[in-house]
Subunit: 479 residues, 2 copies
């Protein structure tokens, strides 16, 4: 059946050209379509369903920790964006400007939000007056716009979807506690639900958010050894609050300035899922977020009772909490196998007339292609456990890959050797000087990903300049 293989062979092999493999997978699996505006993609139903699952799992964690959602305006007046100086310096070069509305030139131009700190500050100034109004724990799900020069679906686009949390607290201690709580929520979500092992740590000065006192990130390793910054959590101190004049009367009756955080995860994480778990046959989706967890494919569906039995099984699976779907298109079974493999559906059930006679069906795992014959009746009770196993195996595999591609380096030549051999994450001591950071970036394209919380001292001296160095850091090529 040459046609059945066509879908698969159209995907560039992963280890031949990782970039082309990625583009093939996102387009052919039906995740995105390009739009007429450069750098803006269409999130097709499959990507949207995936994002809705991500959203629902993260949102439940936000709400369980006391956060509420809001919907803020899309536009920021130029004068408002300008209020916090380091913030505007970081974002001004990449915003899109509205100059005309309703047929007239606007008195003041508006930018399309690249992030919403300034909007939240303006709102907080209106609604926060007393310690009773604190903390403010707000979040929004929306899209933002940054006018990137070179773009790639999910990884870097001019419009992307995300959530942005913005909170306001009476003390720096409480705000810092929030920053860490949210970083931990992202780490927990990535590891448990996306099967992506993370490195939690603090960003260097040069890599922190424009306007933040400190930025923390979770960093994940992609299959090609590069790092993906997968979520960030910022401690903003009282810089924005001072710039916007936000004040509150504390319990001691004194007027004080509150302390702020912001934190976000975006559709970029979908690129991370793809590049962590995908293989030569296409996507591999972690069961916890897969839009379809099990596809049921009737074989010889014209034979009496086959379609009905497959439909009954699909319904029974859905009743037991498995997101199951039947494929009743008129494609051949072989085509269907390849298509759902390409779309990364964790499990496939094949059900033909002979299986039906024996009360059995064939269960196939996307990851290993391992086949087993099981009783139809037992499937609804069995599958949730199988999905959990797959979820854990995906995490273990990604963890093994990361550990196998993480090295220590004590000098620049050692770094060069690692990059030219196995690549991946490099643990190396750093003096903290921006010069050393810049020099490794210029020569090797390497950046500090973060200063991991869990990383012990690698050496006494800086990997770059050889001077006394106190900071163990994670370095990598990054997306």
């Amino acid at each position: 059946m040459p046609q059945d293989k066509k879908l698969v062979t159209e995907i560039t092999p992963r280890d031949e050209d990782f970039g082309r493999w990625y583009t093939d997978v996102v387009l052919k699996s039906g995740l995105v379509d390009y739009s007429g505006v450069k750098g803006c993609v269409i999130m097709r139903p499959y990507a949207t369903a995936l994002w809705e699952n991500i959203r629902s799992l993260l949102d439940a964690r936000f709400k369980a920790t006391g956060h509420e959602n809001v919907m803020m305006p899309l536009f920021i007046p130029e004068s408002l964006l300008n209020l916090e100086k380091s913030h505007i310096a970081g974002f001004a070069p990449e915003v899109a400007w509205i100059t005309h509305g309703g047929g007239e030139k606007l008195a003041e131009r508006l930018c399309v939000r690249p992030t919403s700190e300034t909007l939240f500050c303006e709102h907080y100034k209106n609604i926060v007056h007393s310690y009773r109004d604190l903390p403010q724990l707000l979040n929004q799900w929306c899209s933002v716009v940054r006018w990137e020069k070179s773009t790639r679906p999910f990884l870097r686009s001019r419009e992307f979807w995300w959530q942005e949390g913005h909170t306001l607290h009476a003390t720096p201690e409480e705000a810092n506690g929030e920053v860490m709580r949210m970083l931990d929520i992202y780490a927990d979500f990535a590891e448990r639900d996306l099967a992506m092992p993370v490195v939690r740590g603090r960003k260097s000065e040069s890599e922190k958010f424009a306007g933040a006192e400190a930025t923390y990130s979770i960093e994940c390793m992609m299959h090609d050894g590069r790092a993906l910054q997968s979520a960030t959590s910022h401690y903003l101190g009282d810089g924005f609050a001072r710039a916007f004049g936000i004040q509150f009367t504390d319990r001691d009756n004194l007027l004080k300035t509150p302390f702020q955080t912001s934190w976000g995860m975006s559709t970029r994480i979908i690129g991370g899922i793809i590049m962590t778990h995908g293989d030569d046959a296409g996507l591999v989706l972690p069961p916890n977020v897969a839009p379809v967890q099990c596809v049921v494919i009737p074989i010889a569906s014209h034979k009496e009772g086959v379609t009905e039995a497959a439909q009954a099984l699909t319904a029974a699976l859905n009743s037991s909490g498995v997101r199951a779907k039947i494929d009743l298109t008129d494609n051949t079974p072989g085509w269907k196998f390849a298509e759902h493999e390409m779309r990364g559906v964790p499990l496939r059930i094949e059900l033909g007339p002979r299986d039906l006679e024996k009360g059995e069906c064939v269960l196939v795992r996307r990851t290993t292609r391992e086949k087993s014959t099981i009783a139809i009746e037992s499937a609804p009770a069995l599958l949730p456990g199988v999905l959990e196993d797959i979820q854990r195996e995906l995490y273990d595999e990604a963890r093994r890959n990361r550990d196998a591609h993480t090295s220590e380096a004590r000098g620049v030549q050692e770094i060069r050797d690692i990059l030219s051999s196995k690549g991946g994450f490099i643990h190396a001591q750093w003096c903290g000087g921006p010069g050393c950071e810049q020099s490794l970036k210029d020569e090797l394209g390497l950046t500090t990903r973060n200063m991991p919380f869990d990383l012990g001292r690698i050496a006494d001296k800086c990997v770059c300049c050889g001077k006394q160095a106190d900071i163990p850091a994670l370095w990598a090529l990054a997306y």
Copy 2:
């Protein structure tokens, strides 16, 4: 306790000035805050939670009828917007234009989507080739921008949130079936979940959507007798598809042009809920969409066991499917009663030390203020039924109000008399001529809301010109 009443007395009485009453309610109940951009509001947590409930109930209906969600770009290139002539004529005067991005002037300006027909058409042209690719049943939840001159929270704003469905079909019959199916879904949702009785019907030529062959609407009566167009469903024919060159190869191997629909409901409906059910004490929210269905208020909460019992009851209510919340702020009970009434929470439970001794609590309905004493133990089983009763009563009350303010008219003087006495909906026969429609609009501000499916012949002659008339129509002042 004068402080306790302050919240309430700050609301303008509904029958004194309905417009001011509305503004007071939306601001003081914490639904919205104004932003620095004229006509763009902030949807605060309470409004966002309400919209999330609306979204989840509507989205389930869309998915149950085979629709899938997508996320389309925010921007439309000018040349793309220009492709369908009557569409651009309708929308060009009210769009916002991006002229600069990333520090440079754009080669072609982009508008912020006022609606996304053109984006869906461009996408459909890419993905639809054969009858196997039809129907396309897509929807998106997003915000859109229309540069309105005069704005009011929810009712008319420069940015608003909505869902927009866009579908593509092989035949006009199938597309028209979809148009009616979606209108019925809106009607069912409005009546069952929002307790808002609707009039389903077809819009006149002058009131239809720019680019549509036919527009259908559901119209609801607000407390002041004015109409609110609450959702629309459009039959677009093949006009857009021809303009965009969308074609498919049918089963008979001929190249054909498909037929299209679009349909939407927006955050405007929140204004409708407010103006249908609200009263002098503030909001009244239908239980099916209320963010909080029952607030639990401990009385003398410092007394032993009161707070614990109230917390246990709140948890038990949540377990039985009631969205319950405890109010543990240090406001007085009287203040809390007024505040949650103002926020339209359908039920309140008061629980004090004496109640606790007897194993009882006091249940108060928002609508009637009727109080009853019930056993604490029985509350979790009892409340779902009480909420259903309230939901039904709200519908019945709105229906009674609408019927009491619906009149028939057979001449212009009769219309003037109705408008100057009780106002409301007017059933009157119409010749279908745009001149008569325009004349009643100019003189009385009256518009045809729609031509209701269920309305029989009122008279033989047009209410305006007196000529032979075939169309029974619904006329009203409208938001």
